[in-house]
Symmetry: D2
Subunit: 214 residues, 4 copies
Amino acid sequence: MKTVLLMGFEPFEQEVVNPSWEAIAGFHGQIMAGYHIICRQLPCVFGESLDMLFTAIDRFSPALVIAVGQAGGRTDISIERIAINIDDARIADNKGNQPIDQPVIADGPTAWLSTLPIKSIVWALQQAGIPASVSQTAGTFVCNHVMYGLLHMLSQRPMSKGGFIHIPYLPQQAAAHLGAASMSLETMQRGIEIAILTALSVETDIPLTGGATH
Amino acid sequence: MKTVLLMGFEPFEQEVVNPSWEAIAGFHGQIMAGYHIICRQLPCVFGESLDMLFTAIDRFSPALVIAVGQAGGRTDISIERIAINIDDARIADNKGNQPIDQPVIADGPTAWLSTLPIKSIVWALQQAGIPASVSQTAGTFVCNHVMYGLLHMLSQRPMSKGGFIHIPYLPQQAAAHLGAASMSLETMQRGIEIAILTALSVETDIPLTGGATH
Amino acid sequence: MKTVLLMGFEPFEQEVVNPSWEAIAGFHGQIMAGYHIICRQLPCVFGESLDMLFTAIDRFSPALVIAVGQAGGRTDISIERIAINIDDARIADNKGNQPIDQPVIADGPTAWLSTLPIKSIVWALQQAGIPASVSQTAGTFVCNHVMYGLLHMLSQRPMSKGGFIHIPYLPQQAAAHLGAASMSLETMQRGIEIAILTALSVETDIPLTGGATH
Amino acid sequence: MKTVLLMGFEPFEQEVVNPSWEAIAGFHGQIMAGYHIICRQLPCVFGESLDMLFTAIDRFSPALVIAVGQAGGRTDISIERIAINIDDARIADNKGNQPIDQPVIADGPTAWLSTLPIKSIVWALQQAGIPASVSQTAGTFVCNHVMYGLLHMLSQRPMSKGGFIHIPYLPQQAAAHLGAASMSLETMQRGIEIAILTALSVETDIPLTGGATH
């Protein structure tokens, strides 16, 4: 059976949960649209996260890989458009690494575009009443690192699609960050399911704007 | 049996739902901590909203009155501290009224403080993992109008407590307002139930800061 | 000669300057529209700030009193509409006081409205190309404390007008607060001069909305 | 004499000025650190802006090219890190073009990194008391279009450095956008001069973090 690989992260930066893992863990082992869903929790560590990701891709040869990460402070489910070949860490990762302006992959291209139908996913989420948008940057921390590494590896596997989705804090996290936006676990789970189904079913993305003036 | 009166609002400003009504309607007729819950939907109209509120208070002589309103763009459940004797409408209400710097109640005092245990409610919400804060302003539109009128009337009824709670957009509303924060209906409902139970059980509010430097 | 009293503050919360003092100090001793300008720097301390303010008002019997304070994070010159009779300090003042839910003036009314022509000032500032708005809350820290005390005292002096203006960080402050808005000293100074001249010349405020829906 | 080419833009999206042109125009014809400064105003039009830019680079063979653009709503001077090979217009440009997901340069690489010493520029600005940061996205409108085209052309001219700087609204613009941040023309001009001098003098950028977690 064809597989879909979902990746979430362990908690980082003083948090005790990471919404990305909470939101995907329940899908592990499920069948969705005829695809077997495999979930993995990545360490929030430069390098090690990619090692685990590459191992999983080699093992399962998934048709679709979606990595999900926490974007504390964002308000919606944001579908990342692009990953860049730069690690520039504002904070240390979970093993104390804090690279500055290092490449994710030496000699890799400057950036890779998501191969998900990002406009279709945003549109499907909004139609379902879930706040969503295209994001033009995945940052320069472990999330971007994983997205870049993923797309770099998939560039050698033209039958596989992949990309990255950022989600807000869970309510229980935002309760400790005065003024921060949040999203319920149920909304996140529905959103990710819609993203998966859209990615599996859409061949050619729809020409809707998801741009930013700056 | 003693009663609790919950007030929500009809939709306004191009919205098709108002989260304040969605979040409370299900409590109508329930018994909570020995109190009978009565819910009413207020028109988003200056004057008429207060007429309906006053009629309901006269009829039910509630021990507790909580009005709930939509604060599109806010991220959390905000417990309002104060209502001011000013109607200053940035947009027209649902009947086209747009008063500027008119008193809510002629010859009323400049402001009334909520008689809810606002710090205890915020604390209880945060303990339950629900984003919450004290708000220092309920604005100058129909929400503040209703809060002021409510507290003015209750000032003559010392056995009754009352106040106002602002809630964010629902996800389906935020899906149409790019970048706006939201909260799920379930989280809102749990939050309002906690607020009611806290208001019914706390005699003396706890001395936690809920202040703002500006 | 008639006098105008301008009050600014000393720095607080790790800052080395307070834009409110930088923006007004240069006006001390000037004549504006026939009024003698007197400036005073208030301590960022509950109680002591009001003592100094009351002493200055008693001494100079000013026709107009404007207190100016720093609102770090705000983007524009905000003309405060109302002060409330509550001290609720999120941080300690410069002498370590951190009152919670204490009245500014025991037995004072719940709130006092600015007696400045706030709409006219906002309009004049915007016409001059200076970002400005009405603010519905001055917070619950020393700024609100001073505004409330000022308006309470002036309520016994019907010939005197008074109010409070919040200003953003200076650029050199925002340079140390990633992402915070700022305003140049020159723009602040022009803004305060316009506010003074407008307050001195306008008898009846203009009916423009300065309201907020929440 | 060696030259520096500065590019600003004409107004767009209902504005009557563009701060990017206001902030650079005064440098035209000046000598700075031994370099002759040439300024050009680009149309806010896909394609035409690049034509004019390419013509100017061919004519002047500048050692340094900095394009400056308006980022309405941002609070600081943001030094762009990267340009991507995508035109995705949320609004129409000044000639009505609204491309969606078109490449800036057919067959160009996915992205180009700024060749300015972006960390050194941010550091120098902050040291001078000017709010500044690294930005991870220049958007997908004409600013990114020009930045990408510029870096693509300069990739064939290894002796030339180039990049893009986004600046906030001017105060007179923000006065018409309630709540928007702004920066004075003088601060912008000082900031751009510091950026030019830093770009001309720094050979190897300093390893300071300018990263984002998302």
